[in-house]
Amino acid sequence: MKNLIVLVIILLSCIWLYSCDEAPKKDKYLRWVGDIEQNDKLDDPNFKVCNGENGEFQYFNLSNGPQYLGEKPKIERLFKEEFQLDTLEGQSGWLRVRFIVNCEGKAGRYRLLEADQNYKAFDFDEEISSSLFEITKSIESWPIQYKDENPIDYYYYLTFKLKDGQIQEILP
């Protein structure tokens, strides 16, 4: 028994030492981190970017900060009115809906990312995630942003901080 315990300890130590020194996880990269490619199974075929694939900016590239039509309180009101689910214990963390806004202020290629309070991947209750996803998609227009007087396509996202299935904050 004593030998078995020693063996287990040695094995665990080896695993631990290996895990400490292991090479970091390698990502597969697109042009830019977070790029969203058109997926015909998911995306509206009528949604088009105006400046070609790979021409998108990030929302903060123009140093205007987060932009909302009617400013942020309008978005917060929308979710307060439309997101009407009961408290659901344990449904806490962050849910992000990321998308592209094109040169006409229309959005498309929505993608979902969900994590628990420890930033670990997590599947929120279907009702919560689909509701937040659909309300985000229902927003008809986003601000048109310009670079050198030309309207651009840009990535934007809404992140919902959730506690027991209720929205605590909408970011950014």
Partner: protein, 287 residues
């Protein structure tokens, strides 16, 4: 004005220090040749955008040389942070903190607050840093906030307002403290929340001298308005309502001229929006 210039200089220096490559000779002098080699490799990042495939791949090569090089994990994490990928960002920053807690805890704590409003997580990181070092824990990567002030805002957001006030007062009272862009605004807003109107006004007036903006006058207006509501002296109450209206009008003027709280990535705590200011003006004008 002098304070704003100091703050802006501090902001510039903090940003440069935060984004600049580390001094590789430090590792060489310490005899850590693996880290030195990894660090030297980082010079190849020049000219690559932090979101780009090339930038990320180059950092993977750096980490292949030394998988304990915290700076590279942090550099990789930035694009994930800014694109809102909280999962990958946290994985990378956890590695950075694991290998260099002294230099990475402050940054991770600040980002948890700024990007994710993870108040408890930010407090945990900043307090751990404070216990770990015997020197000043320093400023946010943006240079706008001392990390003790950021910690105070986090405490306030989880309802610990008295603790938040104490932290800000202690920090501002420290003779080595450089006033941040919004220190007195947050203090004034906090005093308003706990109903200490006179102290709130005093703090907000100091903020006007440091860095005037729409929010200062909005909260001044809220102070005068709330003071007027508890006055038994009708004339005095009326005068305070008038003061409140003037502050809200001034807030609108500054807001529309662009003098308001800003952040390139998120909406700062205590930011007010035009419709909130206009609502107060409308309310008071209808009385």
């Amino acid at each position: 004005m002098k304070n704003i210039i100091t703050t802006l200089l501090l902001l510039l220096l903090t940003t440069l220090a935060a984004t600049a490559q580390p001094n590789c000779l430090v590792y060489k002098n310490e005899g850590d040749m693996k880290k030195y080699e990894a660090c030297e490799k980082c010079s190849e990042l020049a000219g690559h955008y932090q979101f780009s495939k090339e930038f990320q791949e180059k950092l993977d090569e750096v980490l292949e040389i030394d998988s304990t090089f915290a700076w590279a994990y942090r550099a990789k994490s930035v694009a994930y942070l800014k694109s809102g990928d909280f999962i990958r960002w946290k994985e990378l920053m956890d590695k950075a903190v694991q290998y260099d807690p002294e230099n990475m805890l402050g940054y991770r704590g600040w980002c948890r607050f700024q990007f994710f409003r993870d108040y408890e997580g930010a407090i945990a990181d900043l307090e751990e840093l404070d216990k770990l070092v015997d020197y000043d824990i320093g400023y946010s990567v943006t240079g706008e906030y001392h990390l003790k002030i950021a910690m105070a805002i986090c405490y306030r957001s989880i309802g610990e307002k008295e603790k938040a006030i104490k932290l800000i007062e202690e920090q501002i009272g420290n003779e080595k403290h450089f006033a941040g862009l919004y220190d007195y605004l947050h203090l004034g807003s906090l005093y308003l929340e706990v109903g200490e109107f006179e102290r709130s006004i005093e703090a907000l007036e100091k903020q006007i001298n440091e860095n005037d903006m729409a929010e200062v006058h909005y909260y001044l207006g809220m102070n005068y308005y709330r003071m007027s509501m508890v006055r038994s002296d009708y004339q005095r109450g009326l005068a305070e309502k008038e003061k409140a209206l003037n502050e809200f009008i001034k807030a609108k003027e500054l807001y529309t001229s662009g003098k308001r709280m800003r952040d390139g990535y998120s909406h700062p705590v205590d930011k007010v929006f035009l419709e909130e200011i206009e609502l107060q003006i409308e309310n008071l004008e209808s009385l």
